[in-house]
């Protein structure tokens, strides 16, 4: 790695991360407790939450299947001094992240309550609705830099479509987020009505990694360790990308913008090359594709940068970025989680000022129309 920090912090690093303002496409706010949602959640579902809780396709009710590397997968310095869990205190988030990094816009990504993994679809829809309201009331309305997404579970697609309508009317949401691990791969036609509506509303489709779809995290089966499960996030995004492209989603919805969040970007070139390499062999199976798969990727998909890859040689990261394309990359920090990327130091390879501007700001500005 080219840039090992073994010096005191420079003055300019103490104030602003870079000379440009940052758009951070992945910030995780958290509820303090379930009662935060009471004002947004009907009594019937409050009661359900209390008595039946989250019914997931995982073994435990109190934790994740693979114990994570830190409590609540958070940076150990992200616990607010006022109490509460990381990401639950707006003032502390401002002090620790939004202000020092000069975040111009931060896109909220809510993972609380296993929001996309609820087996009871009505309950899932109720908490998605509550979380959508909570994002505005607790975050976006209190700090105009923070932007909310409409969270919907695509397996209850009628409920999801209704929620999209309800939220879109407000004009306050900047994206529609769906589950990365739904009942079926994301390209399948049962999910197309959501994509069609996203295209009509001109809202990007956001897909943040995580969740539990009931299938093993890898095509080879269930791993034993978190270090395996964590890397399998890259499998999930690669499989979803190929599903969406091969089923013809960009072909059918040519104005739809799709953003993969927290999948990193190292896996993208090989995935595109492999799709293209075998396209001729399988073309007759997917005659609805009019172009080589990588061409759809380069026009319809964007990728947030965290967790960034860290090759030993800086030039390798540079090659990777060029293969993916500077225009496809949207900076994200993943604050306050442990595998967070620091905007000042994460890109350990030289970038021109114009390239930095694209990755850290203008690409996202264009996708989200800020």
């Amino acid at each position: 790695m080219s840039d090992v920090i073994d010096r005191p912090m420079l003055d300019q690093e103490k104030t602003a991360a870079t000379r440009l303002k940052i758009i951070d496409c992945d910030i995780h706010p958290s509820i303090h407790s379930h009662s935060d949602l009471n004002e947004f959640l009907p009594k019937r579902w409050q009661q359900h939450l209390k008595e039946y809780g989250s019914h997931l396709r995982t073994p435990y009710i109190g934790t994740t299947p693979y114990p994570r590397s830190s409590p609540l997968i958070a940076r150990r310095d992200a616990w607010p001094p006022t109490g509460g869990v990381p990401g639950s205190d707006l003032d502390f988030m401002r002090k620790q992240h939004l202000d020092p990094f000069d975040v111009e816009f931060g896109i909220l990504q809510v993972l609380d309550l296993f929001i996309f993994s609820q087996q009871n679809l009505e309950f899932g829809a109720a908490i998605q609705r509550a979380i959508n309201d909570w994002q505005l009331a607790f975050w976006a309305h209190r700090d105009p830099r923070l932007k909310a997404s409409i969270l919907v579970g695509q397996d209850g697609s009628d409920l999801g479509l209704a929620e999209i309508e309800r939220c879109a009317k407000t004009g306050e949401y900047i994206q529609i987020n769906v589950s990365p691990r739904a009942n079926e791969p994301l390209g399948r036609r049962r999910y197309w009505p959501i994509y069609e509506r996203a295209q009509e509303l001109d809202l990007p489709l956001g897909i943040h990694v995580g969740g539990y779809g009931g299938h093993a995290p890898t095509g080879g089966g269930w791993p034993s360790y978190y270090c395996e499960e964590h890397q399998s996030n890259a499998h999930t995004v690669a499989s979803n990308l190929t599903s969406l492209v091969l089923e013809g989603v960009p072909e059918r919805f040519p104005k739809l913008k799709i953003v993969f969040i927290e999948g990193g970007f190292g896996w993208i070139p090989a995935t595109m090359w492999r799709m293209d390499q075998h396209f001729e062999r399988f073309r007759s199976e997917v005659p609805h594709l009019k172009r080589r798969p990588s061409e759809y990727v380069k026009e319809h998909f964007w990728f947030t940068t965290q967790p960034i890859d860290e090759p030993d040689e800086a030039k390798h990261l540079r090659q990777l970025i060029e293969w993916v394309g500077i225009d496809r990359l949207l900076f994200s920090s993943d604050y306050p989680h442990w595998d967070y990327d620091d905007a000042r130091y994460a890109f350990k390879t030289p970038l021109t000022e114009a390239e930095r501007r694209k990755i850290f700001n203008s690409n996202a500005r264009a996708v989200y129309k800020f």
Partner: protein, 354 residues
């Protein structure tokens, strides 16, 4: 003397259990396959009629499966593609059978068949031992049975089984593999026990084939993190038909994750990428690289070890057109190494003269 070019991955095809394998089955299973019509075990991973499964010019005119005719394979793999030796990997549904004893007898029959009808008829051929991966103790028995025959140079296992290959369940196989200097050849192919990807069942065979690369990645991590190479330091694993270009970013991410979470697996004392370079080899069809020379050079540089690459045509699978299985733009020195030196090092039982 012709140049040495060891093709590490070609595919003779089993016609069927009631035809090809019948003479090699035990009496019990002979009666069973006939009386119950137990046949049709071609894997869903490779339907013989699918374009990928057989290049047009490598398909028998009478409609039999590509790879089923020795003379045709000899013409294709040796005369046309220029191999001096070739390793036969029989990818067949025996390794997906649920009944472990049926699986074991079918695997034994495949190995007897390949020895009698392929290896005995062409001294340029070698083979991987097809093992009943479903039952490691029976797999070890099959390895022991072949251990004295140096024409068997590796152990074939599919890339998607009942569980990830690093699990302790499979360790007896690795112990035998190390003892008899047989690398584990993981070949693309699924027993369809679970969805081929973490997001579920794909619609297309194309999509399934793309997901194979990720199954190989998961197997690689599993073997490393479960500590297989600390336990069996002499073990080599060959990824066959895995694709290659995913390796750099995969190694970077593995290193990054291990640096932070290695407390889970303290027996893994080196970076995963270093373990990969020492213990893993990869066949070069498909390579899945872009078509420009610069990117190919960058990928090779990023992988960081010329020893990992093995020449392979994947005959009769349709991975390329024309007569040269070597992916374009590879440096000449590397091509020579992957055709001769690397295979000889990877498959220590493979002696050119025998």
């Amino acid at each position: 003397m012709a140049v040495t070019r060891i093709d590490c991955d070609i595919h003779p095809a089993v016609g069927g259990t009631r035809t090809t394998l019948l003479p090699y089955l035990s009496d019990h299973w002979k009666e069973q396959v006939v009386s119950r019509a137990i046949d049709g075990l071609d894997l869903n991973s490779y339907p013989p009629s699918m374009p990928l499964s057989g290049r047009a010019d490598w398909r028998p005119a009478d409609g039999r499966k590509p790879g089923s005719d020795l003379a045709m394979v000899q013409r294709g793999a040796f005369d046309q593609l220029g191999a001096s030796h070739a390793i036969c990997n029989v990818v067949y549904g025996a390794q997906a059978v649920f009944d472990p004893y049926m699986a074991a007898d079918f695997c034994k029959a495949i190995n007897d068949w390949i020895a009698a009808e392929w290896l005995a008829r062409d001294t340029r051929l070698r083979a991987s031992i097809v093992v009943p991966i479903q039952a490691p103790d029976l797999a070890v028995e099959e390895i022991e049975r072949r251990a004295g025959d140096n024409r068997f140079v590796s152990i074939l296992v599919p890339s998607q089984n009942e569980m990830l290959l690093g699990r302790r369940h499979y360790w007896p196989i690795y112990q035998a593999a190390e003892k008899y200097r047989l690398p584990i050849a993981i070949h693309a192919g699924s027993a369809y026990r679970g969805a081929p990807s973490s997001i579920g069942w794909p619609s297309y065979r194309y999509e399934y084939y793309l997901a194979e690369a990720q199954a190989f990645q998961a197997q690689t991590l599993s073997l490393i993190y479960e500590g297989v190479f600390g336990k069996y330091p002499g073990l080599t694993v060959v990824l066959m038909e895995s694709g290659v270009s995913w390796l750099p970013a995969f190694m970077w991410r593995a290193n990054k994750t291990w640096r932070g979470v290695r407390v889970e697996v303290p027996w893994v004392e080196r970076e995963p990428a270093a373990i990969i370079r020492d213990h893993f080899r990869v066949t070069m069809q498909p390579f899945d690289a872009p078509m420009d020379a610069t990117s190919v050079a960058d990928i090779i540089d990023q992988i960081g070890s010329d020893k990992m690459f093995l020449f392979a045509s994947d005959y009769p699978h349709w991975q390329f057109d024309g007569d040269d299985p070597v992916p374009p733009h590879l440096p000449a020195g590397l091509v020579k190494q992957m055709c001769e030196d690397n295979p000889l090092e990877t498959f220590p039982r493979l002696k050119l003269s025998s």
